[in-house]
């Protein structure tokens, strides 16, 4: 999938995994559709009502800080979201996005340049993000080791392919 186009949801710094997917659900909610329905519950209760496939989150620094819980990344994947763009990520969260096969781009100073509902277009092959005002921002490619996992659609598929070799 080279082009990801969707409307954006904009958030600030330090959005943690507890507000993305509350800890009280980590062992009681296990169905993917149900996990998806709790996405951003304690940060933005309107999020799941408005989000559609292909939509994009744009956030500030340290997105996904806190717990290693994978549901905080997979909930967006289960919603078929297009991508997350953050100024920076907590490292486990970043890995979880790769493992979920969910594009997670690191781009600085974007939060102030977009507003909720704007349409943004990402070209993953060219490594560019097109903003509503026509500005284009470039981002670097993933290291090959990581890109391979993304290309397989996440870690489960990647390992499945490796095991069947």
């Amino acid at each position: 999938m080279a082009i990801i186009k969707g409307k954006v949801f904009v958030y600030g710094d330090d959005i943690n995994t507890d507000v993305i997917f509350p800890g009280k659900y980590t062992y009681t909610v296990t169905d993917p559709d149900e996990i998806a329905q709790h996405a951003m519950e304690d940060e933005d209760p309107t999020f799941v009502k408005e989000v559609v496939a292909g939509d994009i989150i744009i956030a500030g620094k340290n997105f996904g800080c806190g717990s290693s819980r994978e549901q905080a990344a997979f909930c967006f994947k289960y919603l078929n979201m297009g991508a997350i763009i953050a100024e920076s990520y907590a490292r486990i969260y970043y890995r979880n996005c790769i493992n979920a096969g969910l594009p997670a781009l690191e781009i600085k100073n974007l939060v102030a340049r977009v507003k909720r509902g704007d349409i943004v277009e990402i070209d993953t092959e060219a490594g560019t993000v097109l903003l509503p005002n026509g500005d284009t921002i470039s981002f670097p490619p993933l290291p090959p080791e990581v890109d391979q996992i993304m290309k397989e659609g996440g870690l489960t598929n990647y390992i499945k392919a490796k095991l069947s070799q």
């Binding site: 507890d18 980590t26 940060e43 890995r95 489960t156 390992i159 095991l163």
Partner: protein
Amino acid sequence: MGQTFVEKIFSKRAGRAVVPGTILTVKPDYVLTHDNSAAIYKTFTGMGATKVFDKNQPLIVLDHIVPASSEKAAINHKTVREFVADQQLPHFYDGGRGICHQVVVEEGFARPGSLIVGSDSHTTTYGALGAFSTGIGRSEAAGIWALGEIWLKVPESMKIVLNGIPKKHILSKDVLLHIAGKIKADGALYRSIEFSGSYIENLSFEQRLTLTNMAIELGAKNGYIAPDEKVFSYLEERGVARDAYEALYPDSDAEYAEVVEIDVATIEYEVAAPHTVDNVKNASTLKDISVNQVLIGTCTNGRIEDLRQAAEILADKKVAHGTRLLILPASNEVYLQAMDEGLLKIFIKAGALVLNSGCGPCLGAHQGVMAPGEVTVSTANRNFKGRMGCNTADIYLASPYVAAATAVVGRIATPDDLEG
């Protein structure tokens, strides 16, 4: 050019000199999982795997919801037990043994120079023994069960130099919270932190574990403290011979992305106010905050020294009317020792409720879940909105001394408030 700790351990594992930014595939000594092992097992089979690659790698400790609070949690545990039996995994600890991070230390798995990953963010704890340890996701744990390996990026290193002598009753928890307030929750993002300085050299082994446990709250990949005699003798007492590991130390001419120097003598009683760990305030500015519940314990501050400190404050005192005190020992070993030392008697006589060892109320799954509008003071490591099960409750993080004094006063208080 010299190497930092993390550059050194990754170079050793890779068999070549590596620099920050290098991505390499490593075979961790151990991969820790807990109640999430059932979900990981599902991913493992989804990967097409049938046999665990190296039976010695998985460390499985049931601790998050023990004993099971519901049928669903019970089925979850049952799945894990069956998987362990089926695969004949040797390193399994059922509910009640303790919180995974304490169990890994007590059982002697974490050693100087070890490389341990875990599907729990507080896996950073083992750096206090000179290990490299970091959190990973569930799928990655499944991947290690299947293939025995994982990719990791060599991080930049950051040195936090702590010198000076702390004031009376100021603990490493205050020091860590002070650092969080100073460098913020992303102050060490993607980095390896090395804690050093005369304060660290003099610090007890148990208080060191509090620092590395919370390295993740600064955004760090891992936290490291140079292992010394305190670590070696702790391990020796647990049957780990001194030649069973190789301690690794940073070179004196290693390069750091940043060096932060702090005189610990300037640090006061520190409290992280809602809803982030870096929202740090001096406890004396929060004395009007009424507190419904106090939690003393967890993988951050549930070791014997923490409980002794709490008992020192609570001896011959009562928990304030309108306040509930929960004690959560980090392991059954700690529990037993607290019993032998008479600490549990002090807690129960004061009006506390002593919980079984486990994660308990820290993540809001059971035991001490909060009601809307309530306030908890906790010795745990996170105060995020909703963390203790209710998104309109407030959590303040503090040291065992401050938490115990708060339980007695019913408002945020320090040992100084109880003196004279």
